[in-house]
């Protein structure tokens, strides 16, 4: 044996870079954990395989979280990128911030999925594995220092997601939206990859550090190729964060996917997209700042406005939340647009609080679907929820108000900080758009937040008083009757793992909204560069 290896070594000039496993440990934990779940759950008796795979999966997410927190104390100071694996992966506060975020979201999703995914017994294992793998892709995106590695992460994340969306076998809508997501995702990935190729052509490297050095030290004779590459990368990542005009898939897919998956997608995929966007543009393309920063501002403005305006006319809760999440993405972009340490810090804070809120919100919607006994909740269906399921109604309202930015929730500080950063960078027009869109958004947030407290009997008249005559107002009476019949189905929410997830999200949202200092400073410390 030793003879063979010696032979290979002497003949092949391939040099392997030193691999610092500890730097990519969270990713590795996720991948190895996923394989372990697969093995173990196929070995245990069938009737306990669900419990085993969920428990094991949650454990994996917990271990990864613990390791991420450990890395947080190890990793270097802000800006001082610690490049490992031949400069392909970074281990810095920024990456670790996202490791923590993704681990938390994965944990919450698994716990929520245990109750709320409508799956056959065997397939829950697949759910666990896909969530873990998808998370590892997201982590890779956040830490990648090389555009190719970044693309690898993007694909690991996306392919798992395509399957996750279509997991429920009796959900035709889910399958339809999965195909949609898959084709459009492939389309945008192709554009992204093409952009990478162009950037390579212009700079001679796919490594962000080298791209930066090249751009900083050389004056390009013609920058057309580079700019085209940047634009295409922006399109590819804009798709992931559902920025306007690449957002069209989001409402359809968010509505069609099972609620826990939607929550996972809205948190992890979006955060990963933002992580990549930040990493690529703020550490690679920063010398061309004056070219792309205004574009971010325009996209941010449109994203906020379109999200808010279109949410107003929705009648489906998940669709409304999808537009709300588009609106939120606009706010996060606003922080990037500010192009300052303060703005990016505000965006990171926004991202982590938004992730918790959105996972909690979709878990709540999933739980409400379960209580109502149907998939797809109309806003009208929420009527009278405060009587039927007070805990769910309370959580739903809290999480909705957090998205609206009500004080004493994390949402308030998130929006406040982002707008403040934009104002202090003197971006007044877009800051103004942000305020306007927030004002429009309050309309639909309040409409959803008040609905659980409306009584079932006065259905028809009070839905008309919602200001604008909503398209479904004439059906208000009908749906009210329907809800009445369903009251007997399942009146109380049990204490299960989904409840734990929802409660955790609510507690974090309110708790950190009041005791806000630490998380804000953590987010500010994770800022790249500057």
């Amino acid at each position: 044996m030793s003879f063979l290896i010696a032979q290979v070594a002497s003949t092949t000039p391939l040099k392997f870079p030193p691999i610092e496993y500890s730097a990519i440990a969270p990713e590795l934990i996720m991948v190895v954990g996923a394989i372990a779940v697969l093995l173990v759950s196929s070995l245990v008796p069938r009737h306990i395989s669900k419990a085993v795979s969920i428990t094991l999966g949650s454990l994996v997410a917990l271990v990864s979280l613990a390791d991420s927190i450990y890395l947080a104390f190890q990793s270097g100071s802000p800006g001082a990128d610690k490049a490992v694996l031949a400069g392909a992966v970074a281990l810095d506060k920024f990456a670790v911030f996202f490791y923590v975020l993704f681990s938390i979201v994965a944990l919450l999703t698994l716990l929520a999925g245990r109750e709320l995914m409508n799956l056959d017994r065997g397939r829950i294992t697949e759910f666990v594995i896909l969530v873990l793998l998808s998370t590892s892709g997201a982590m890779l995106m956040a830490s990648a220092l090389d555009l190719i590695v970044l693309f690898l992460g993007l694909e690991i994340l996306s392919i798992s997601l395509y399957v996750l969306v279509a997991m429920e076998s009796d959900n035709d809508r889910g399958r339809e939206s999965s195909i949609k997501y898959f084709m459009l995702g492939g389309f945008s990935s192709a554009i992204f990859l093409y952009g990478v190729a162009l950037v390579y052509g212009a700079t001679g490297s796919t490594n962000l550090g080298q791209i930066f050095t090249f751009l900083a030290n050389n004056l390009l004779k013609s920058n057309g190729v580079l700019l085209a590459g940047m634009g295409m990368i922006l399109v590819g990542l804009g798709f992931k964060i559902s920025a306007v005009p690449f957002h069209f898939w989001a409402p359809d897919v968010y509505q069609g996917a099972p609620s826990p998956v939607t929550g996972f997608m809205a948190a992890t995929a979006k955060a990963a997209g933002f992580a990549a966007l930040l990493r690529v543009f703020y550490s690679g393309f920063i010398p061309f700042q004056s070219d792309w920063v205004p574009l971010i501002g325009v996209i941010a403005g449109f994203t906020m406005l379109v999200g808010a305006v279109l949410a107003v006319v929705q009648t489906d809760v998940k669709r409304t939340l999808a537009y709300s999440s588009i609106n939120q993405a606009g706010f996060i972009l606003l922080g990037l647009y500010a192009a300052s340490a303060r703005g990016v810090g505000a965006s990171l804070y926004f991202l982590i609080t938004y992730s918790v809120v959105i996972v909690g919100a979709f878990a709540t919607v999933g739980a409400i679907e379960k209580v109502l006994g149907k998939s797809g909740v109309q806003i009208e269906d929420l009527r009278g929820l405060s009587k039927k399921a007070p805990f769910l109604a309370f959580s739903f309202v809290t999480l909705i108000l957090a998205q609206a930015g009500a004080p004493f929730t994390t949402g308030f500080l998130a929006k406040f900080n982002v707008v403040l950063a934009a104002v202090s960078s003197k971006h007044y027009p877009v800051a103004l758009i942000a305020m306007i869109s927030a004002a429009i958004a309050v309309f639909f947030y309040l409409r959803m937040a008040l609905m659980p407290f409306r009584s079932v009997s006065v259905g028809a008249e009070s839905s008309a008083e919602g200001g604008m005559s909503l398209e479904d107002s004439q059906y208000g009476g009908d749906s009210a009757v329907m809800v009445k019949e369903e009251i007997s189905i399942d009146a109380k929410s049990k204490l299960d793992s989904a409840t734990v997830v929802i409660a955790a999200a609510v507690i974090v949202t309110i708790g950190l909204g009041i005791w806000a200092g630490p998380l804000i400073s953590i987010a500010n410390r994770a800022v790249l560069l500057f």
Binding site: I191, A228, G231, L234, L420
Partner: protein, 616 residues
């Protein structure tokens, strides 16, 4: 500080499931626990030398934005500790009392939830280390008081009274907020420590404006002229609420605020005089009104307004310690009076008209004895607590201006008189109610708090005896807080003695007057002119002049401007958004090929933009 909040939350969550008395017992325990904590803090401070008795500890910072730093923290100094001691102490007693008083109410646990929440808000107000959190507490006590006044919202008068309290308080809040904004604009900070350290840099005009605006806030909360009307109506609430909120604690928040901002007051010009005159005139007018009321609680309500006037007199003349001293002793005896009145009402099955009572001392001995002790105390008869505290305030007023003293002295006679009238009408004379009414003494859970408060009312004066400096416990304790803001007493001890003797004489005169008029008779129209019964017609004047005309004005706004301008504007904006959205929504076709097209268009737009940037 957080204990009452925890109690309230627990009561909110589980109160309905607990059996009747347990919700109350739990609430009482939480408040009592925070009283114990307050005592511990007090002992802690007492162990330190007097100069170092200030803790400003910060729990965590809540908002940091620009130059605005808001910390969640507590400012513990002798003043705030004095406040929390008597707030939590009296609250505990009243919580216990309420277990008996509210025993028949359907929403028993809700009541205790509100009560706990109130105590929490009050503690936030007192302990906060910055003006913003004080305001949160300020609003918190306002909101809980609103809920509690209209607790029996089935009665339209209760609902209306709650609304009135709320609206009148808004005027005061406006003053408070404006003052806070001014402070922040000029000093860039809102924490007490920083503001007081740098207030000297401001011009006299600014400081005066700020002080006046804070005073407007205090006038609203503490029911002084011209905003006192809400307090009397607030008596629609359950009696323990009147005792706790509208006599002992919340209404003194204005006095506390004034004492807290003493460095600002000290630097302002003439505000002290204004405060003193507003206070003494309020004291006089309210005392006059109290002489002609027939509702047992309304007498006490006007009496509270009048006593608060005395406190402001103390503040205005720079006698902060005297004002706080009066506040504490007043809390003892007025809480006792209200609880006694509550006990009477409870025993008489919701009868509140004093003309329909009489001779109750035999039927309700415990209530009668404690009530009489409280009466002697508020009347200022030596050696009861009211004598000492009112004496301090009046002596300070004499030093400032004999006119203030004179009005205060006349008011003192009136105080002794109207309280005497109430006592005679309720507990002495002939029985004037139907003997079919089964009058009963209240249960132990209600009388024990009465005994405790009675002891405090009688001996509360020992807190600050003017005999020698050694016995001025409260003054020595509070001195570091007020420092140079405190006006030094220049009155010689002989004059002081004369003034004290005069106070005693006033009390005796008032009591004698009351007994000569009311011990036998129950109806003397000459002594109860209608315009006094209607509180000088001030309330009606407001109703006519302000409430109705502003209703008409707002009606006009509602009919014309609201409908034609605001509504149309909002509706058209709403309609516009809806229209645009419905139109844009058609783009959302659901077809993948369309979506891909949009992405392509977007990509082309972005590339097009970059083309314009290319070249260089």
């Amino acid at each position: 500080m957080l204990l009452p909040l925890a109690g309230s939350v627990l009561n909110m969550a589980f109160g309905k499931r607990l059996k009747r008395p347990y919700a109350g017992i739990m609430a009482s325990l939480f408040v009592a626990a925070s009283f114990v904590l307050a005592v511990v803090t007090w002992l802690d401070l007492l162990a330190k030398p007097s100069g170092q008795r200030v803790f400003d500890f910060t729990l965590f910072s809540w908002i940091t934005s620009g130059s605005l730093h808001l910390n969640v923290g507590a400012y513990v100094d002798p003043l705030s500790v004095t406040m929390i001691l008597f707030v939590t102490g009296i609250s505990s007693l009243i919580h216990i009392y309420s277990i008996g008083y509210m025993s028949h109410d359907e929403r028993f646990s809700t009541f205790f939830m509100y009560l706990n929440l109130f105590v929490f808000a009050m503690l936030v107000l007192v302990l906060s280390d910055n003006f913003v959190f004080t305001f949160l507490g300020w609003e918190g006590v306002g909101a809980t008081s609103y809920w509690l006044i209209s607790f029996w919202f089935e009665r339209p008068t209760a609902a209306a009274a709650g609304k009135k309290a709320f609206i009148v308080n808004r005027i005061g809040d406006f003053g408070y907020l404006t003052a806070v904004f001014l402070l922040f604009t000029y000093l860039g900070s809102l924490s007490y420590g920083k503001v007081f350290a740098s207030v000297g840099q401001l011009s006299h005009g600014t400081v005066t404006a700020i002080a006046l605006l804070f005073f407007v806030g205090a006038v609203g909360k503490s029911a002084q002229l011209p905003l006192f009307v809400w307090l009397v109506d607030a008596m629609e609430g359950p009696t323990p609420v009147s005792a706790l909120i509208h006599a002992a604690t919340m209404v003194t928040a204005g006095v506390y605020l004034m004492a807290r901002i003493s460095p600002i007051l000290h630097l302002s010009l003439g505000v002290g005089t204004i405060i003193a005159f507003v206070g003494v005139v309020t004291a006089f007018i309210a005392a006059m009104a109290a002489t002609s009321q027939t509702d047992i609680k309304k007498v006490l309500a006007y009496s509270t307004v009048s006593q608060l006037g005395y406190m402001f007199l103390g503040i205005g003349t720079g006698q902060y310690v005297a004002a706080i001293f009066l506040m504490v002793t007043h809390a003892f005896y007025k809480a006792l009076l209200f609880l006694g009145a509550g006990s009477v009402i409870h025993g008489m099955h919701d009868e509140q008209n004093i003309k329909k009572m009489g001779a109750l001392r035999k039927l309700m001995p415990a209530t009668a004895v404690t009530f009489i002790l409280a009466w002697l105390s508020i009347a200022g008869l030596p050696p009861f607590s009211g004598f000492w505290s009112k004496g301090d305030v009046l002596a300070g007023a004499y030093q400032q201006s004999p006119l203030l003293w004179l009005i205060g002295a006349i008011t003192a006679i009136l105080t002794a008189y109207y309280m005497g009238r109430e006592v005679y009408l309720v507990f002495f004379g002939k029985q004037r109610f139907d003997s079919s009414v089964k009058v009963h003494e209240s249960p132990k859970v209600m009388t024990v708090p009465l005994y405790v408060l009675a002891i405090l009312s009688v001996f509360g004066g020992a807190l600050n005896l003017p005999i020698s400096d050694k016995f001025r416990f409260l003054e020595n304790w509070l001195a570091p807080v007020f420092g140079h803001a405190l006006t030094q007493s220049t009155i010689s001890s002989s004059l002081r003695f004369v003034l004290g003797a005069a106070d005693g004489v006033f009390a005796i005169v008032g009591i004698a007057l009351a007994s000569s008029l009311w011990i036998k008779s129950s109806s003397r129209p000459a002594a109860e002119p209608a315009f006094l019964a209607a509180a000088w017609g001030i309330d009606r004047f407001y109703d006519r002049a302000i409430a109705r005309s502003s209703t008409r004005l707002s009606q006009m706004f509602a009919d014309v401007i609201e409908v034609k301008v605001v509504d149309r504007a909002t509706m058209s904006v709403g309609a516009l958004v809806g229209l645009v959205a419905r139109y844009v929504r058609k783009v959302q076709s659901g077809y993948i090929r369309n979506y891909a097209l949009y992405i392509t268009i977007g990509a082309i737009l972005i590339l097009g933009y970059f083309v314009t940037r290319a070249g260089a």
